[in-house]
Amino acid sequence: MNLLRTAVLLAKKDLYSELKTKQILVTQIIFAALVIVVFSFAFDPANNTTKAVIPGVIWVIIVFAGILGLNRSFISEQRNDTMQGLLAAPMEAASIYLGKFLANFMMILVVEIISIPFLFLLFDFKFLGSLPYFLIVIFLGSFGFVAIGTFLAALAANSKSSEMLLPLLLFPITTPILIGVVQATRIILTNMEKLASALAWIQLITAYDVIFFVVCFLLIDYVLEV
């Protein structure tokens, strides 16, 4: 129980500090908006075929905006060596991981809630698919991405150039989840007849989430060990 309690305390601390400074969240949202604008240059929003790339664009936004937040999540603990403070405190490494995960996950959800409607609006995308399924896919996809992302951010934070290292570590490892969520999102947004196939993808994502959440939980001790 101590594990959960301290994790929640840490997540609260991160979110509250974010509420005060609004550095990361604002950067993430502006970045997401910029990605949307760049995509509108690359793919003409007036063109109907553009609708086909929307599911991909959603995940490009989440992944790139997410990486900004993940990068900061452990780097921010290096100022004044607060990471040492956490490690010297009576909390398990798993608890630090869980706390950071919760904070990152909340933040990416906020980014999604703001940027996805914005994307639909700008690209004049009519939502025809099933909203609950869409939310499930977004939720599960973000969960897996942030779970492994937080873990690898903790790992990369040991490097001096962790901002550059993290994407190199994260993208190959998250390939399955990225393939899965883009496929599932595409089916749900544009082609609801193939729902069975989307459900299969959702199962794959869920399996990935579970496996990697557990593996990260077990291995984080070795990453945060001093």
Partner: protein, 234 residues
């Protein structure tokens, strides 16, 4: 209180600690002196379980450090060179956060009282990032004792403090001593060491070179011993 046996630490072929045997009783205030690179900070970090020793055993309050990390960490208050404070947080928020992590009770009242004790109650709700070095150091010591630790590990707590701040800090340490807190303090400041400590350990090259008790705040005695061990030998 603290039992260290044959403690060694090796990093990249370099022996930082070469077999430390040390036992410290409850309520003692111990100063660790020694030249740079003697392994003083490393010893504190091992005690704070921030560094894994290569060999040897450490027992705190009868508990093996390796096996009872959480219990031991709860008993320790650790203050390294850096402040361990969150810049955007006020002293109160910092103290409350760490107090809660340590599972202390009545954190808020205690935090307010501690900030007052270190003479910064006027800045209770200001973000720490605007503070001067001395103010940060005072909040940092308050942070280290927010959960009423039984063992206090201080790494050069007096650096960068002016005379007033030093006396505030010494008062805090002495009041902790009154509560039977064991204090280990790495320092270069003989005067402070002689003033508040009742035992001096001199470290050199990863070993304990000398270990003695002092009385009557005899600073001359300390520097004589130190010169004999460190400067005389080299």
């Amino acid at each position: 209180m603290i039992e260290i046996k044959k403690l060694t630490k090796q990093a990249d072929n370099k022996l930082i600690l070469r077999g430390i045997d040390l036992s410290i009783l409850k309520g003692e205030t111990v100063a660790i002196l020694g030249p740079n690179g003697a392994g003083k900070s490393t010893l504190l970090k091992v005690l704070a379980s921030l560094i894994k020793p290569t060999a040897g055993s450490v027992k705190i309050n009868g508990l093996e450090l390796k096996k009872n990390q959480l219990e031991i960490k709860r008993m320790l208050g650790y203050l390294p060179h850096s402040s361990l404070l969150y810049d955007h947080y006020s002293p109160l928020e910092n103290l409350v956060f760490f107090g809660n992590i340590y599972g202390a009770t009545e954190v808020e009242q205690r935090a307010v009282r501690l900030v007052k004790e270190v003479g910064l109650s006027f800045f209770l709700n200001e973000p720490v990032k605007n503070f001067s070095r001395g103010m940060i150091q005072r909040i940092a010591i308050a942070r280290a004792i927010i959960h009423e630790p039984e063992v206090l590990l201080l790494d050069e707590p007096h650096t960068g403090l002016d005379q007033g701040a030093i006396s505030i800090l010494n008062n805090v340490i002495l009041s902790m001593k009154g509560k039977k807190t064991t204090t280990l303090m790495v320092t270069h400041d003989f005067k402070q060491a002689a003033e508040i400590c009742d035992r001096i350990i001199i470290m050199k090259n990863g070993r304990i070179a000398d270990d003695f008790y002092i009385e009557n705040q005899n600073i001359g005695f300390v520097s004589k011993k130190y010169q004999l061990q460190v400067e005389g030998a080299s």
